[in-house]
């Protein structure tokens, strides 16, 4: 069962797994204390895990509690490791793998949204085209002059990627994105989610 063949021979034998990489969304409830984000990020960099997206903010002010949402890529075994390693941190209250929880209740994915602010500069036809596209993508204009727009758009990561790609030839100046915020579908809160594989 540990038979994962590689050519590397060493006492530091690191099996190259043939497992497919998966992208999972983790929700982490932590004490909002100094250094807590550094602990989470340090764990990722120190152990060589990937962060695709990270968002963090205090969610319950009275309880002094923050919610961190991390989108991460790895083999299922690595993602399970990440979950346990995060749970080991003293100020971490709850870690849940929303992707696994969704899968366990026969859903495709958890609810995931990202917000982006996008600045486009252009005149004439290009400017009009950008505005038309923003309507198609349900983005809103939050700042404008005769030679620029700033759009605000909310949606799944791939929708925002798409919007940005389309705007690139139309005079894209810069983009600011929040990273993914996520919740599970259904009435259950994070604590009650079943995310055991």
């Amino acid at each position: 069962m540990n038979a994962q063949k590689t050519d590397a021979l060493s006492a530091y034998f690191l099996a190259e797994t043939s497992d497919v990489l998966e992208t999972h969304t983790l929700s982490i409830i932590v004490d909002n204390e100094p250094g807590v984000l550094a602990r989470v990020i340090g764990l990722y960099s120190g152990r060589g895990y990937n962060i695709d997206s990270l968002s963090v903010s205090e969610t319950e002010h009275e309880k002094h509690v923050s919610r961190i949402t991390i989108v991460t890529t790895g083999t299922p075994q690595i993602i399970e490791q990440i979950r346990h390693q995060l749970d080991r941190l003293v100020p971490v209250h709850i870690v849940r793998d929303l992707t696994v929880a969704a899968r366990n209740s026969n859903q495709e994915k958890p609810l995931e949204r990202e917000l982006a602010l996008i600045k486009v500069r252009g005149e004439g036809e290009k400017r009009l085209e950008a505005l038309r596209l923003s309507e198609a993508f349900r983005a809103t204009v939050i700042d404008a002059t005769i030679d620029h727009f700033v759009f605000e758009i909310t949606g799944r990561t791939n929708k925002i990627d798409q919007f940005i790609e389309i705007l690139t030839p139309l005079g894209l100046v810069e983009v600011s994105r929040t990273g993914v915020a996520a919740l599970s579908r259904g009435s259950q809160g994070l604590k009650d989610l079943q995310d055991e594989i």
Partner: protein, 590 residues
């Protein structure tokens, strides 16, 4: 209890309230208020070391030999950074340690002040948890929490960083919480899942070729865990091996003892691991020095893994039946269920024992004795003979060949008597660790088995021993080489001995005398017994310079990239076999 006091007074009060009797430390600007309190009281004894790293390892030795947290107290900046090696060492071996560091005053934090460093930033990855205390009113709560976190669950080191103005400030002290396990976010799981434990016992009752593979987790779980392990081994009659960290949990004189496993483990232990049909891993973590080549690691066994840390499960090796819980709790349930269900081991166990006896008969620890030169193995056998039967002996080691030989040739009968740097492999660990053990056990015999290179890394602690009337004995297997480095250069790098020979070693006898200790030198095998006796009977610290055969290799050995059943045994290790033991791919990594 509630009382107004300064931050520095709170530190002392919190130490007392958490049962601390000894602190290892070194003063400096940013901890002076705490030192000022230390000298005005008698309840806590301070042991002044000669280097902060020494304080850390001494605290570890104290912790490993008592099961209680070891305490270190150092100043800011270099004081804190000198602790980093010891903290990481304690982290890797799960040793409870509370380290208190001074910090520059809060208004100077972040200004590159004199002796300032980002202590919590630097120590974040090498502690179980750490705190920077910004308000004196938080200090008592944090100190008590620090003790709880260090000693509960999977133990580990913690750092409490206290700025100097917080030490001077006055606040309200409160005693430890009655129920610290009620922590808001940190709740280690002690009790194992009963369904899983029942399933484990059932697997055990059906096993034909079972083996217990135990580790430091058994020691960390306390004396009861070792007792329960012995009971379970007696009840089942299963053979048992252990990692370096777990030696002593099951007695070396026990019927089922296979010896240590892993890279320098015994032939019988590694073969049993390779051929078993059921592996019961208890409080060990499938370290790379244990498993050897992973894709050939115990290929046909069902694996049970008991560990208090869920992140240890399936980290390296996929297991069939994980049980998250404290070793003593889980073993208690296992023993009870085994008894209550009147399980019997399978009759095939007899054949398995016969097979093991055949492997044992291979006598993998044999070596060629010499009448002229002291073989290092022989020196340890004589040391073992001299301490046999004594219950008050604590052995520490440095890191290298001597460490492996000590693990192979000294028999450990009980837990907490073997102090060695396993996970991190820290040269310079042994002498301060022996000092720490000696502080905890003033009447005990604390022996640091050392190499000539390792001992020089913290030799300055001889001065600590002399000052505090401590009498650790350092038994140096002196071969003038960094023996393990030389052995690997022979195995991996065409015997090109790049910088592994120490040309100008000090005269260890004179060095001992310079520190105010005693030096003994032995060069002939015939002189060993009397000299060892003299060492043991010397009331003060001793450097025992045991000049051994220079080019001896440590066998048996699983060479890089090989499996448990591909060991290099001493009688097969010709120069040619050694040179070709590791193929090209294996040379690329250690």
């Amino acid at each position: 209890m509630q009382r107004e006091m300064t931050g520095a007074e709170m530190v002392l009060q919190a130490l007392k309230d958490n049962g601390v009797e000894h602190v290892f430390g070194y003063p400096g600007g940013a901890v002076l208020p705490i030192y000022d309190e230390l000298i005005q009281q008698d309840a806590i004894q301070h042991i002044l070391v000669r280097h902060e790293q020494g304080a850390g390892h001494a605290a570890e030795g104290y912790a490993r030999s008592t099961g209680k947290a070891g305490i270190a107290l150092v100043t800011s900046g270099p004081g804190a950074t000198n602790m980093v090696t010891a903290l990481t060492d304690a982290m890797l071996d799960s040793i409870p340690m509370v380290c208190i560091t001074g910090q520059v005053p809060t208004n100077l934090v972040g200004s590159d002040a004199f002796q300032e460093c980002d202590t919590v930033g630097i120590t974040r990855p090498c502690t179980k948890h750490n705190w920077l205390v910004k308000d004196v009113d938080d200090l008592p709560r944090i100190l008590h929490e620090a003790f709880y976190v260090a000693q509960s669950g999977r133990p580990g080191p913690v750092v409490v960083d206290i700025p100097k103005d917080v030490q001077f400030a006055t606040g309200t002290y409160e005693g430890p919480q009655a129920n610290p396990s009620n922590h808001k976010s940190y709740r280690p799981q002690l009790k194992g899942d009963m369904t899983a434990i029942r399933a484990a016992v059932e697997l055990m009752s059906k096993a034909k070729r079972p083996v217990f593979y135990t580790g430091g987790g058994v020691i960390n779980s306390g004396a009861a865990a070792s007792q329960l392990l012995r009971e379970l081994v007696d009840q089942t009659g299963f053979p048992i091996t252990s990692t370096l960290m777990g030696l002593g949990a099951y007695p070396a004189s026990g019927d089922q003892w296979l010896g240590m496993l892993g890279m320098h483990g015994t032939y019988e232990a590694n073969m049993a691991m390779h051929d078993c049909d059921l592996m019961i891993c208890i409080g060990a973590r499938f370290d790379d020095r244990i498993t050897g080549r992973l894709d050939a690691f115990s290929p046909n066994s069902t694996k049970i893994h008991v560990d208090i840390d869920p992140s240890s499960i399936n980290k390296i090796v996929h297991v069939d039946l994980p049980i998250v819980g404290d070793v003593a709790h889980v073993l208690e349930d296992m023993v009870r269920i085994w008894r209550a269900s009147s399980f019997r081991s399978q009759p095939e166990l007899k054949g398995w024992q016969t097979q093991i006896a055949k492997w044992r008969a291979r006598d993998c620890l044999s070596y060629r004795h010499s009448d002229d030169v002291i073989m290092p193995q022989y020196a340890l056998q004589r040391l073992n003979a001299a301490i046999k039967g004594r219950k008050d002996v604590y052995i520490s080691t440095e890191v290298g060949q001597h460490q492996m030989w000590a693990a192979q040739y000294l028999g450990f009968e009980s837990p907490n008597h073997w102090l060695t740097s396993g996970g991190f492999g820290t040269m310079g660990y042994g002498l301060p660790a022996a000092i720490g053990a000696q502080v905890a056990h003033p009447d005990g015999l604390c022996i640091n088995v050392a190499g000539d290179a390792s001992i020089l890394m913290n030799i300055q602690e001889m001065s600590t021993a002399v000052q505090h009337g401590l009498a650790p004995k350092t038994f140096i297997l002196n071969n003038s080489y960094m023996g393990m480095v030389r052995q690997w250069q022979q195995l991996l790098h065409g015997n090109r001995l790049s910088h592994s020979y120490t040309e100008s070693l000090p005269d260890f006898v004179k060095l001992a005398e310079a520190y105010g200790g005693k030096g003994i030198r032995v060069t002939k095998p015939g002189e060993l017994d009397d000299a060892i006796q003299e060492m043991i009977e010397t009331p003060g610290p001793v450097l025992f310079d045991c000049c051994v055969a220079q080019l001896t290799n440590c066998f048996p050995m699983i060479p890089s990239g090989k499996a448990h059943n591909e060991m290099l045994l001493p009688d097969e290790a010709t120069d040619e076999a050694v040179a070709n033991a590791i193929d090209t791919a294996g040379k690329s990594l250690v």
